[in-house]
């Protein structure tokens, strides 16, 4: 009740965003000061940094182990407003940074679909956004960071260091990031001049994607339940930074509406979602619509509804996000859409985007050139896991990857196939650090 002033709950909970799987740390150690190293020698078991818990699956969980809660490492350190360099502690949220820099004419180089992620989490998952085709990943804009190892050693490293390349996308396993420095970008104002284009199917999507280079941000929403000639229909959204009449709403404001309780398990079923998808698709009557909107609803539409994941019912949900390389990549993507539509799984909104050619800086970074698709599935008993195993096989065949930050179920074999630099990464892992995800993809 009382705590959600700024979207951050006062009460601590240590779940992942999809609320699947359930896992409980044996203990939690709050890290409050960057100058004070946690007493690693006194802490038992494996440790894992935890901040906002916005990873969907189990990469931010440490079942039976210890979580280092870094949400209080929330201090800014320095902002060079001439050069656009910001240094801050790892628990600072992107919302906090935007509140400071947007009025001063700067923006984060990369933002994901929610502003409630920490800088440490953005680095550990080497997150991407709607401008991947131009800017690459978040980690590509980190100029340096400090890593605190369980030996007590502090290492400041930058893009040319192997330890940095292991830490970016390294799922929090190379040690505790205490602070990082980020290169920001200039913007004209807090608005986004956006264009929404309804497209009838997958071919039309790929045609629109050839125009991506002319826009800073592009992404498409796709109806995953449509079949036959309408397969892959959706709405393409693209935009650029623009001045805005009047002030933008504060990014620190919480959601206007919060889902108060878990919805009944069957609320999001094939019928309700098909109706929703149809209505959403039809909501755009014209083929094209242009408008200027504040940046927050453009980037973070779901932040407008607090605890929206409760709509998926008590067992939680999984999000499946894959990338399939190749230009054009419509072959495997079309097969994936067909499998989802045929499976009978109530898939809700899918998000489709072309990743650019920028090489990701991390050894275990997920983004690579190709087409990425993200789809939510409610968990009910053993569903939708068989379907997702099938999709993994398609992605492996195509030489793609599945995103660990969203994952709760990929097999060790798939993980090794998706991340060929795994052997380069291993020597840099901190031996005291582990996660539920890490143990799962290393199970024999």
């Amino acid at each position: 009740m009382a705590g959600a002033v700024d979207g951050r709950p006062a009460r601590r909970s240590y779940r992942s965003w999809g609320r699947y799987p359930s896992a409980a740390p044996a203990d939690v150690f709050p890290v409050v000061w960057r100058s004070d190293a946690p007493p690693f020698e006194c802490l038992r078991g494996s440790v894992l940094p935890y901040a906002c818990g916005r990873s969907y699956g189990d990469s931010c969980l440490n079942d039976g182990g210890l979580l280092l809660d870094v949400r209080r490492l929330d201090r800014l350190i320095a902002f060079d407003a001439a050069a656009g360099l910001l240094r801050c502690e790892a628990g600072v949220t992107l919302a906090e940074i935007l509140a400071l820099i947007v009025p001063r004419g700067w923006f984060l180089p990369v933002v994901p679909g929610t502003r409630w992620v920490s800088v440490g989490g953005a680095i550990a998952n080497d997150i991407h956004g709607k401008n991947h085709h131009r800017a690459g990943t978040f980690g590509a804009h980190v100029t340096r960071l400090e890593l605190l190892r369980s030996t007590g050693e502090r290492i400041v490293c930058g893009p040319d260091d192997a330890l940095f390349q292991a830490t970016v996308g390294g799922l929090g396993l190379t040690g505790l990031v205490t602070w990082a420095e980020i290169r920001l970008k200039r913007i004209d104002g807090p608005g986004i001049a956006m264009e929404r284009i309804r497209f009838p199917g997958l071919d039309a999507f790929f045609e629109l994607a050839t125009e991506d280079h002319a826009f800073e941000y592009t992404v498409a929403w796709v109806d995953c339940l449509a079949r036959g000639p309408r397969l892959g229909r959706g709405i393409y959204m693209r935009g650029d930074h623009a001045p805005l009449d009047g002030p933008a709403p504060s990014p620190l404001a919480g959601a206007r509406f919060t889902v108060p309780v878990d919805a009944p398990g069957g609320l999001l079923n094939r019928v309700t979602l098909a109706l929703f998808n149809e209505a959403y698709y039809r909501s755009q009557l014209a083929g094209r619509r242009r408008s200027i909107v504040p940046y927050a609803p453009f980037f973070f539409p779901l932040d407008g509804v607090g605890d929206w994941t409760r709509l998926y019912g008590p067992q939680g949900f999984v999000q499946y996000q894959c990338v399939v390389p190749g230009v054009p990549a419509d072959g495997p993507i079309r097969t994936i859409f067909e499998r989802i539509a045929r499976s009978g799984e109530p898939a809700s909104l899918g998000v489709l985007k072309r990743f650019g050619a920028a090489r990701s800086p991390g050894m275990l970074s997920f983004p690579r050139e190709g087409t990425t698709l993200a789809v939510d599935f409610a968990v009910r008993g053993t569903r939708p896991f068989a379907l997702l195993d099938d999709l993994d096989a398609i992605v492996r065949e195509a030489g793609g990857a599945v995103y660990p930050a969203k994952d709760a179920r990929m097999s060790p074999e798939s993980f090794r196939a998706f991340f060929p630099q795994l052997d380069r990464f291993r020597p840099h892992q901190d031996p005291r650090f582990s996660s539920s995800f890490w143990r799962r993809v290393h199970a024999s």
Partner: protein, 250 residues
């Protein structure tokens, strides 16, 4: 205060979560701040944060508030550095372990000195300076624990209760001088100080508490509960007859 000169705020216990969040609100308005705390690294981390968030100026001084002589020095340093003060916020304190205080008088007295003695050491020179200036606001973080002695933390409660009386008298004295004295009484706030307690529905974030503290100071409230809903709760707890209260396990 003329609009072109940013507000001058002195914060003791500046590395505490509630003080930091309150100072962040002032920093966003471009305030000039003088921060005092015990640990140099932590103090510098907070100072850098406030500078980055827009404070016009941030000065610091190391202070262990149980060093009463040093308290007076730091008050003078703050007053001199900022050329006078508009607001003084005392936010230092520790939540002692009740069981250890019951086992050791020295332990109990030490915690009373940190939570009450040090406040007197700071408030005495501060009150005289504010009184002479004829304006400004002294705000002190007390606690709902000071409203009634309870078996589970009466040593802490005694210090905060004594502080309450001290501030009442000070408010009464400084009223004529045009100086406000604000007693702030937080309930459960999610801070490192309460990390050992099980979190219930009455817990609020430090950020919420900081905003409420800032508002209470700006509105020159006499006594402000943080957040507001502790006022009716404590009203009920205060009116329970002692004959009944002594039987409760609170």
């Amino acid at each position: 205060m003329p609009p072109d000169s940013p507000i001058r705020v002195f914060v003791v216990g500046a590395t505490s979560a509630i003080a930091t969040e309150t100072a962040r609100v002032y920093a966003a308005y471009g305030a000039r701040l003088f921060l005092a705390a015990r640990n140099a690294d932590r103090l510098e981390a907070v100072a850098a944060d406030l500078r980055t968030r827009g404070a016009a100026r941030v000065e610091t001084a190391l202070l262990d508030a149980t060093d009463h002589h040093r308290c007076e020095e730091v008050v003078e340093a703050a007053w001199t550095a900022l050329g006078g003060l508009d607001v003084a916020l005392l936010a230092h304190g520790v939540l002692p372990d009740q069981a250890r205080c019951q086992a050791s008088a020295a332990e109990a007295l030490r915690s009373i000195d940190v939570n009450l003695g040090s406040a007197v050491a700071l408030l005495t020179p501060l009150a005289n300076r504010f009184e002479a200036a004829g304006r400004g606001c002294i705000a002190v973080i007390g606690s709902v624990a000071g409203d009634r002695g309870r078996q589970s933390n009466y040593v802490y409660g005694a210090a905060k209760g004594g502080l309450d009386r001290f501030l009442e008298g000070l408010r009464n004295r400084l009223f004529r001088a045009g100086v406000a004295v604000v007693t702030l009484k937080p309930g459960f706030v999610d801070t490192p100080m309460t990390a050992g307690l099980v979190q219930g529905p009455l817990f609020v974030s430090a950020r919420r508490a900081g905003r409420d503290v800032h508002r209470a100071i700006e509105r020159r409230r006499d006594v402000a509960y943080i957040p507001w809903f502790w006022r009716p709760i404590m009203a009920i707890i205060r009116i329970l007859p002692e004959r009944l209260f002594k039987r409760l396990r609170l």
